[in-house]
Symmetry: C2
Amino acid sequence: MTDIPIILASKSPRRKLLLDQIDLGCTVIPSGIQEDKHTGQPPEEYAIDLATAKAAAISEKYPDALVIGADTIVVLEKEILGKPTDRDDAFLILSKLSGKTHTVITGMSILSKKFSVSDNFFEKTMVSFKQINDSDIYRYIDTYKPFDKAGSYGIQDQFSVWIQKIEGCFFNVMGFPLSAFFERYRSIMKRIENNNRNPVGGME
Amino acid sequence: MTDIPIILASKSPRRKLLLDQIDLGCTVIPSGIQEDKHTGQPPEEYAIDLATAKAAAISEKYPDALVIGADTIVVLEKEILGKPTDRDDAFLILSKLSGKTHTVITGMSILSKKFSVSDNFFEKTMVSFKQINDSDIYRYIDTYKPFDKAGSYGIQDQFSVWIQKIEGCFFNVMGFPLSAFFERYRSIMKRIENNNRNPVGGME
């Protein structure tokens, strides 16, 4: 396969772990993009916009690389719940989610200037919580400090006992839709391979 | 809380990891029960029977402990697909599952002689695979050697790229339904606590 450096434009350690899980070596270079610009567009668009902004900022600096941007949000009854600002906010968010089903949306952006790649998409997973009482919520927050997580919970930590069911991609809830990503990544790589073999205008 | 030793009657390292994930310390003592006795009963019953046999064998020897038995099977169109016997069998199983939705059933048994606990249940999760071609199946088998896994795949390893979606508990597919287990575990512990405080026939 063509050897193209892959850059993950995200500071989430979980996303890096998930790319390791599918044996895809990458370099992590966070974009520094702030995640506070929701201006009323649909949640899917908002997540993709943020993912694209992250990937674009890095792709500008590394035009030869394949840059991956991602942004995960939690949506409950049309309200976007991002990362909690503090302990009280985390409590408020988890209280809202308790006993209900919410949607986790990850916006994804795969960009490469050199190879003319611009693939932006999103993945949705429905997550149903059991009813959680206040003292369990506080105990979780104080033990796990989920302040870097959209929705204030980690599906892969002790919080898993409160997850009644999910519908969709589990890894999407962790912040990276592995299966959807891999399908697109493969087809991008195949296209790049073919272009390398048969460059536009090239003749033998 | 009453301090009762917990024994996991399973040699699966994944089950131990999942109990660690919810901070439940346990000792692992495999039962040695063979998993090859399917005699035509419904899959749910079969999984529970095996889980109960595993837990009972250990509970006999450790009557003071809370013993957890578990057995996970994969069911495709009424056919039970267990652990593969070898490379060819793993290929056969994954070829059957490719492009289809199957059910993962974990039978669970929680037993304690001393505390009169006998709680047996099962959890089901639907798992949908993408279409996987033969060379990808062989590459997966040869790299990951999934011979200790029902259905010949690990949802938490590189195989995750082929999982289109799941419906239900993710950890059930890894072999241990954390959420369903924890709910029952808590209510068992509460009952034991209450009995200790108000023993039958006890008066002050």
